[in-house]
Symmetry: C3
Subunit: 138 residues, 3 copies
């Protein structure tokens, strides 16, 4: 059994930004030598998420508008009494999910035709990290 | 270590339909020979989800009404400028989650008394797929 | 390959209560002997969740207020025709997520600086259970 660990780093220009990471995850899977197994892709910061959905700019816009409606910024959150101003980022990442586990079959990510993996940043403009943990057999 | 892969196929009659798949997943676990491990059950299409909750028609109705309120169909989504009309399905599946990982103990799904696994279709009436990846030891 | 199973039990004093369980999960990881792998932490009851976020009381308050807004209690849910009164608990746990998979690196949970694991109870005051499944290599 192989267990292989790597990390992806992000420092987005905008506070909120969705970044496609399918190819980066696939490269880590290839480097691991795992042919059959799974890979966990998980945000290590609590104001960011990882999700699987469409690589289509309109839909990404829809997601961001929708999240702003469900978990608005600028409200008088109790968390802000600590000096923070990002409570909405914690809520938004909860809606999107903070991690995915992807199947690996015959050495490649076993994804449907439209499945793409995204890093969802909700409080960026600083260095942040995603852990990628590959497990399986050669 | 055993890694066993299978797929479930769906072609729902209605656009939106929740289908219980606990028994199908259990059968794949049995076929794998894994006695201790986990099974990943993950929608391969981005307008469908997989979730664990109650097998009770009233609650399924409540879920569907609630999702329609949180992520309404028929709005003027940016995604629809591509010719699609299913942006709400992408959002709804995000709320429900697109995958679960179930523990396997003594050769069976290690579920609580009311836990049932569901496939949640939000843009059906066509052939769609779920990947089932079993990992563990005999 | 090691597969190690344990359970955490809860009986919260309040109906809704979020309980930090990072240390309990870490102790199970240590007992398993797994140095590289993953641990699945999953609620076995369908009115409770498991999530990763901040250990800050203001934010926990914000989460609970937000969930009450998105999935209110006291509505006339169809599920309540069965005699239940907890439909909102099923919805709230869906937003928070019912399970997480945590990476294990060098024998410890591989978490970011602010990541803490929580059990989110939405219909407590009775005995409930979380399964903890550790998989990996020594």
């Amino acid at each position: 059994m192989i267990v292989h660990t790597d990390y992806l780093f992000f420092n987005t220009k905008k506070r909120q930004e969705f970044v496609r990471i399918t190819d980066e995850v696939q490269r880590i899977v290839e480097a691991s030598g795992v042919k059959e197994g799974t890979v966990l892709v998980s945000a290590m910061h609590i104001t960011a998420g990882v999700y699987v959905n469409d690589w289509e700019n309109g839909l990404i816009h829809d997601f961001q508008e929708w999240l702003e409606k469900l978990a608005p910024s600028g409200l008088d959150y109790a968390h802000h009494q600590t000096g923070e101003d990002n409570a909405d980022a914690h809520l938004k990442r909860t809606i999107m999910g903070h991690q995915v586990t992807l199947p690996i079959t015959k050495g490649a990510l076993d994804l449907g035709p439209w499945e793409q993996v995204f890093y969802a940043e909700f409080d960026g403009q600083r260095r942040k990290r995603v852990v990628v943990k590959v497990m399986g057999i050669a």
